[in-house]
């Protein structure tokens, strides 16, 4: 077992030694001229948890690779300055030496698991460290127990869920007993339950093992809970280095940097800015519990509870039904011993002009349902009608004219050498005239804000722009319904927000939109209706406000409503509990003062 060294109980941070020192670090990738990191300086104490935030391209991942020694040893490039890890200069020691002190967990859990069995994967690192067999077994047992994967020893890793895979990836690093653990966006590809599981493990590591943790993350709310310090990066430089509370105080500045602060803190910022003398005690809370304990005394003497938003019938109920799903059941591998029932008796109607969010944990059937809407999958039982067409009787190609499907990863579809050709691909498949294709491409590029990029190579654009190219190529087919699968995964807040504003704009222009996401803040902000799926069934379906007002039912689907909704729910004795966004909660609270 690891020796538990709870350094913080006995000493203050100032007396704790540094285990990571970064001095004047600059780095340029091989073949590049522009440095990705510029004059970076910081240090990390033993047992400290350092969160690194910043927009895409800020240099966060590059910095993690420098700390682990993979830069420069595995990647090469021009590194200037010094990175010292547990007293070892990374440029002077091989990765095989450094990795005994430091372990790194990457974003994609799929790629970092090599073993054919869980225990083999966890034992890989200690075996490479030439541990005796009994020590390897002990470490495997300990690490699996630590990430709560006991009993999974003989499982084939591919059969695990996303959250389990990422915990396995962490276990396979922990088995090397590193002093420092680096996690590069470990939850960005996980569903809500997967995120919770991974953060639980990290929290446990920091508390009971006093491990030094460096975590690159976009999730401000989770970082605020576990990090001792936050480092914000922009253009390869460190622009903020402070405790979460101090760091997140500069709300506007951070938002300009593409970093979104926890909702309860953003609310506090708005209130204090508006009426500083009345809300001083609310100050800058980081968690829902903190916010609630600070607000309750201020709200106790209110004359009367405010009203909830009235629950009227949806404004779309009278509009034409564009998607009608009746008793839909889908079974993968029906009739085989391996059959999987993915959907069971789904009934759903979507009206023209609606903007619907489809949410639920991985494997609950969201994508299977969405793929029925454009004919990529056919019902095993039941019917799916899109604009009156029975999807069993129409080809996917024909349905593509009616339902545009934007995939999560734009790189799965991009293959042309220019943006124009890529966007024209779908329209050309509809056998339209050259003039019509030209007009549609221009129109679509205009809609997604990529006019002027016609001759650019799509592979050289940023991920956000590649996602826009993918959307434009679907829009050029003039579909009436848009299905968008996880449009913001792996994006920073600024890019996500821009993407969702585009989706909102498309909806305003008349497209019926159905999007899949794990980001509840985006659901609260943009969806007018939410369909919650669980175990292949529809668990909840209704206006966003009423769905988020049922936290117990949402809990069944492992969904945590946004922070602000949880705060309002906690204060339901004083204020209306159905506020979805910071702005709504702010308007609600400022009325009382």
């Amino acid at each position: 077992m690891l020796t538990i060294v709870n350094v913080l109980t006995a000493t203050r941070w100032s007396e704790v030694p540094d285990v990571i020192e970064v001095r004047n670090l600059s780095y340029t990738y091989p073949g590049d001229h522009k440095p990705v990191l510029r004059e970076v300086n910081f240090s990390v104490k033993r047992g400290e948890v350092l969160g690194i935030m910043g927009p895409i391209g800020a240099g966060k991942t590059t910095l993690s690779l420098c700390l682990s020694g993979l830069i420069p040893h595995s990647i090469g490039g021009n590194l200037q300055g010094e990175v010292i890890v547990t007293g070892l200069k990374t440029v002077e020691h091989e990765v095989s030496v450094l990795n005994q002190k430091i372990g790194i967990v990457f974003q994609d859990p799929e790629i970092q698991i090599f073993g054919m069995e869980v225990e083999e994967d966890v034992g890989f690192k200690p075996k490479n460290m030439e541990m005796p067999d009994n020590e390897v077994s002990n470490r495997v047992r300990w690490a699996l127990h630590y990430v709560r994967l006991d009993g999974f020893e003989k499982r084939f890793p591919y059969t695990l869920s996303g959250g389990q895979k990422q915990r396995l990836a962490i276990a396979s690093i922990l088995s090397g007993r590193p002093e420092i653990l680096i996690l590069d966006e470990p939850t960005s590809e996980l569903d809500p339950i997967g995120k919770v599981q991974v953060f639980d493990v990290i929290r446990q590591l920091t508390k009971s093992e006093s491990m030094t943790v460096v975590i690159v993350e976009h999730e401000a709310e989770e970082l605020a809970r576990i990090a001792d310090r936050i480092l914000v990066m922009k253009n390869g430089q460190v622009v903020r280095d402070a405790s979460p509370r101090e760091c997140f105080k500069d709300v506007e500045e951070l938002e300009d940097l593409g970093v979104r602060v926890p909702e309860v803190l953003e609310l506090g910022h708005l209130l204090v800015k508006d009426q500083p003398q009345k809300w001083t005690t609310y100050d800058y809370p980081l968690t829902v519990e903190e916010a609630q304990s600070r607000l309750e005394p201020l709200l106790r003497n209110l004359p009367e509870k405010s009203q909830s938003f009235s629950e009227t019938a949806s404004e779309y109920d009278k509009a034409e039904v564009v998607i009608e799903v009746q008793n839909l059941t889908h079974i993968y591998g029906a009739g085989s011993p391996e059959e999987v029932v993915a959907l069971q008796g789904i009934n759903l109607q979507v009206h023209r002009g609606e903007m619907v969010a489809l949410i639920g944990q991985n494997g609950c059937g969201k994508t299977t349902l969405a793929k029925h809407l454009n004919g990529l999958l056919r019902p095993t039982e039941g019917t799916v009608r899109v604009l009156g067409l029975d999807t069993r009787r129409v080809s996917a190609g024909k349905l593509a004219e009616k339902v545009g499907y934007c995939f999560q990863n734009p790189d799965h579809q991009i293959f042309k050498s220019t943006v124009f050709e890529e966007v024209a691909f779908g329209a050309r498949n509809l056998l339209l005239s050259k003039e019509e294709i030209q007009a549609r491409v221009q129109e679509s590029l205009g809609t997604v804000g990529l006019i002027g990029y016609e001759k650019s190579n799509p592979f050289f654009l940023s991920k956000g722009d590649r996602q826009r190219v993918a959307v434009a190529s679907v829009l050029a087919m003039h579909p009436e319904v848009l299905v968008i699968d996880e449009p913001t995964t792996g994006m920073d807040w600024r890019t996500s927000d821009n993407m969702m504003l585009l989706v909102k704009d498309l909806n305003a222009k008349g497209h019926t939109v159905l999007f899949i996401t794990h980001n509840m803040r985006i659901v609260a902000q943009y969806a007018r209706r939410v369909v919650v799926m669980h175990d292949g069934r529809v668990l909840l379906d209704g206006p966003t406000r009423s769905v988020f007002a049922q936290p117990d039912l949402l809990g069944k689907a492992y969904i945590n409503p946004p922070q602000i909704t949880r705060l309002c729910h906690g204060l339901r004795n004083y204020i209306a509990s159905d506020r979805l966004t910071v702005r709504e909660a702010y308007e609600e609270l400022r009325r009382f003062h």
């Binding site: 682990s68 799965h412 579809q413």
Partner: protein, 267 residues
Amino acid sequence: MSVYKFYIEGDSVFHRLNPLVKFIWLATFLVETTIVNELLLSVAVLAWALVCLGFSKIPLRKLWPAFAFSVWLGFLSVLLMPLFYNPGKVIFELDVLRYTDIGLNFAMAIGVRAAAMLAATMILFSTTTQAKIIDGLTDTRMPAPMVFGVALSIRYVPVLLGELQRVKEAQISRAFSIRRGSLARRMSAISESFQSLFIPMVNSVLRKISDLTLCLDSKGADFSKVRRKRRIALTKTDKAFMSVTLLVLLFFILARAAGYGWISMME
């Protein structure tokens, strides 16, 4: 639980066999289909494969791809063989094409031997999980880096198949079809279909390889240190099946030594 596309869950004798025994069994098929090239004994090799199929309880339809390929191979052999090999009694003659009894026997045997070999291979993969395959390879004393390479390749089969499926769906969702429009349009669509799958897949695979390399480096991968030591433990069933397998092999070797089952191309 199913671990990859070929594996079929089950609890047959074949599922329970030691993977090393199955590898040896497959190797005997390689020998048998090499030392036999005449129809009658080729059918006997195929019959042995079908007996094993019975032990494996794999539905015959699961082996259809192997048989379909073999039927095509046999058909092509019969069609083209008269051009290259036509000794023996002439059965049918059309211009330069001379169909002879020995030529036809040899051509049909090609299809049957292919069917036997493919069926055996598919039985092995349908009854053996990936982890067991790696165990089997380790037991053959294959060098650790090679075993690890095979393990990695098999490990990422589901990942890459999933990736290919997503790429295919992304193109279908943009109304891509090779069955639309004029003939010229269809021809161009066929060439485009390769590009539309190949480029995103190469892009994805290269990125995954780069990430995988970093992950291996970060864990200090040294394959010589991760050799898996296994004690080979054979059950009674393993030993009995191994004996039968070797007896069958011996039968074909003796038949060949006695001058049966072989058509010499040199005569």
